[in-house]
């Protein structure tokens, strides 16, 4: 078992490898963002559950005091970041699901010189995904601005 674990971990970069392991491409950074947003959403979900259970059970006065606190600009900005994180996590997750089932990967082709590389490759679907994320982020920002940022 020890030999198996050593072999398994020969190229193991540790937690630092999540951030940088050499010639990483766009998809690798999307993977990192997916993790960060996922962990952030879990943390937010835990506090959100406390807010909507314990504080709600304590009646109208406590609920309204909690809502007044959450309408402060800092909390509103935090909620905006959560909305953006959710949008990014959801749409990147959709991309990952499609790719897991072999969709949206493009046709395989023989490598012909001069070889194309990931940096020069055109990515219409990724660009469309980024555009949708930006539009949704702006939509949430617009709603945030309409509510006066607090």
């Amino acid at each position: 078992m020890a030999i198996r674990e050593v072999q398994h971990r020969q190229n193991y970069l540790g937690v630092g490898g999540w951030v940088w392991g050499g010639n990483y491409k766009l998809e690798r950074y999307l993977y990192l963002l997916h993790r960060i947003t996922g962990l952030g959403i879990i943390l937010f979900g835990f506090f959100h559950l406390i807010e909507t259970t314990f504080f709600r059970m304590q009646g109208q006065t406590v609920w309204e005091a909690t809502m007044a606190l959450l309408e402060k600009p800092w909390f509103e900005a935090g909620l905006y970041l959560v909305a953006v994180a959710f949008t990014l996590h959801a749409l990147n997750g959709l991309r990952l699901i499609l790719q897991e089932f072999g969709l949206a990967l493009g046709r395989p082709h023989r490598p012909i010189y001069p070889y194309g590389d990931a940096l020069r490759k055109k990515r219409p679907w990724t660009m469309l995904l980024v555009a949708v994320i930006v539009v949704l982020a702006l939509l949430f920002l617009f709603d945030f601005m309409l509510s006066g940022g607090g």
Partner: protein, 120 residues
């Protein structure tokens, strides 16, 4: 094979969460834009609106379903991240047990209050 099934449930839960949380986000957080189109129904976080939703089975069902799917998706995802830094089988088994117990406790905690408010 069993692990593959857990992973498929993780993917299915992601799709369900996207739909349920999408509904939640639009109703709760895009109220100004909904109001602009005449669809909104006042301040969604006011006590009256919150208690109004608490008394309707469809909202309670939606929240409990969202809680169940989100818990599974979050804990399975977090388990995957932790297992990347801990290699041993024993650690995997311990993490599985801790996460299953934690998931059940949080689910009971999160669904008891909406159900008790629904039943008055």
């Amino acid at each position: 094979m069993r692990r593959a099934r857990w992973h498929i449930v993780h993917i299915i839960s992601a799709v369900v969460i996207a739909v349920l949380l999408g509904i939640h986000m639009v109703i709760q957080h895009l109220d100004d834009i909904l109001g602009f189109f005449g669809v909104g129904n006042g301040e969604p976080t006011s006590w009256l609106a919150v208690m109004g939703r608490s008394g309707r089975g469809i909202w309670v069902g939606l929240y409990i379903a969202l809680l169940a799917f989100a818990l599974y998706h979050a804990l399975y995802g977090l388990r995957g991240i932790i297992l990347e830094v801990t290699g041993s089988r024993r650690a995997e088994r311990a993490i599985n047990i801790v996460f299953i117990i934690a998931g059940i406790i949080v689910f009971i905690w999160g669904s008891y209050i909406p159900l008790s408010l629904l039943s008055g």
